[in-house]
Symmetry: C2
Subunit: 219 residues, 2 copies
Amino acid sequence: MEIKVLTAVLEANDTIAEQNRELFRQHGNFVINLMGAPGAGKTSLLERTIQALSGELSIGVIEGDISTSLDAERISKKNVPVVQLNTHGACHLDANMIHNAIVHMDLKVLDLLIIENIGNLVCPAEFKVGEDHKVMLSSVPEGDDKPKKYPLMFKESKVLLLNKMDLMGHVDFNLERFKKGVYEVNPHIELFPISCREGAGLEPWMDWIRRRVRKKDAK
Amino acid sequence: MEIKVLTAVLEANDTIAEQNRELFRQHGNFVINLMGAPGAGKTSLLERTIQALSGELSIGVIEGDISTSLDAERISKKNVPVVQLNTHGACHLDANMIHNAIVHMDLKVLDLLIIENIGNLVCPAEFKVGEDHKVMLSSVPEGDDKPKKYPLMFKESKVLLLNKMDLMGHVDFNLERFKKGVYEVNPHIELFPISCREGAGLEPWMDWIRRRVRKKDAK
């Protein structure tokens, strides 16, 4: 019984996700669904990304949180349009929430829309919201055993950023063990080790976005 | 509609949680539901706790994970009975899963049962499993803004352990700001700053457990 309910919910979600995707396609938006554990540094990554790319791309942000507008306040200081979505307890964003959020955005001026999902390694990976790609942010202090313990998000993501590389010497984290786990779950994922705090290793990520936006424009 | 379904699920869960609770009461088990984000250090805390208390208390563990038995393997090295629960995608433990797990445990010999929940700051806080108390493990690299962003778990917990205090100088974390957020959400919570890696600050936590087990025995 429970599984039937879940299937129905996911099917309804996929229908709305397709509508969102079509809207994004019409407006030429490249859309990233950014996922990761609480405190992995998703908002810091957004700040770094906006800082590096806002001179060349028109960027918009949707901030998903259980409650508060703390993250949207951080992002709005960077002078990009941002919509705060509060899920009031729900542990993930779904396509309908995004549908309601984009009403408040001027999609036709945006090259890039980044949706910051709820901090959670489980449920966000199950729900499409109409994105081009899911991108996952992991972080060194979370430990090198996460790919095997939370496989779905690693499997669903096109890119994996490993943040807080500056803490590498201060915690028990074996990069080879982590990579082995990641590639077992998803052999095709692109992995970029970074430090948002120190601003290190971010160029491959920025280039990945540039290439994808260019490809979108070419269509 | 969706809310009705959720209410029914929670009510059914509460009924089974009460049955578990009655079983634990009959056997004199003190039961902790340990929650926290992925990588906060829940299994490391368990290892430290077993190391410190297994000479004086009879301890059992239920390990909740999406998949794998990595955590149960770590705990079984400490020579305590452990049952691995795999939720196969579900983002929290519920009372029925615990009901099925304790069939495999000899409750009458246990003083203390610790249930390690799925690494997730959202859903586990919504589901009772029959525990005496919910205990939350937070960690310094997750950031000092978490109490306001994920209030329910902080609100539902009796004790909050703040792990990875050894990283305090290496990340941006304001302890006063964190405490302010915590006590706004839950003025009665007991807060213990610790470092599982260095084995520091753990005595108040062990004493808290000792007092609770003693109180249970006195009944």
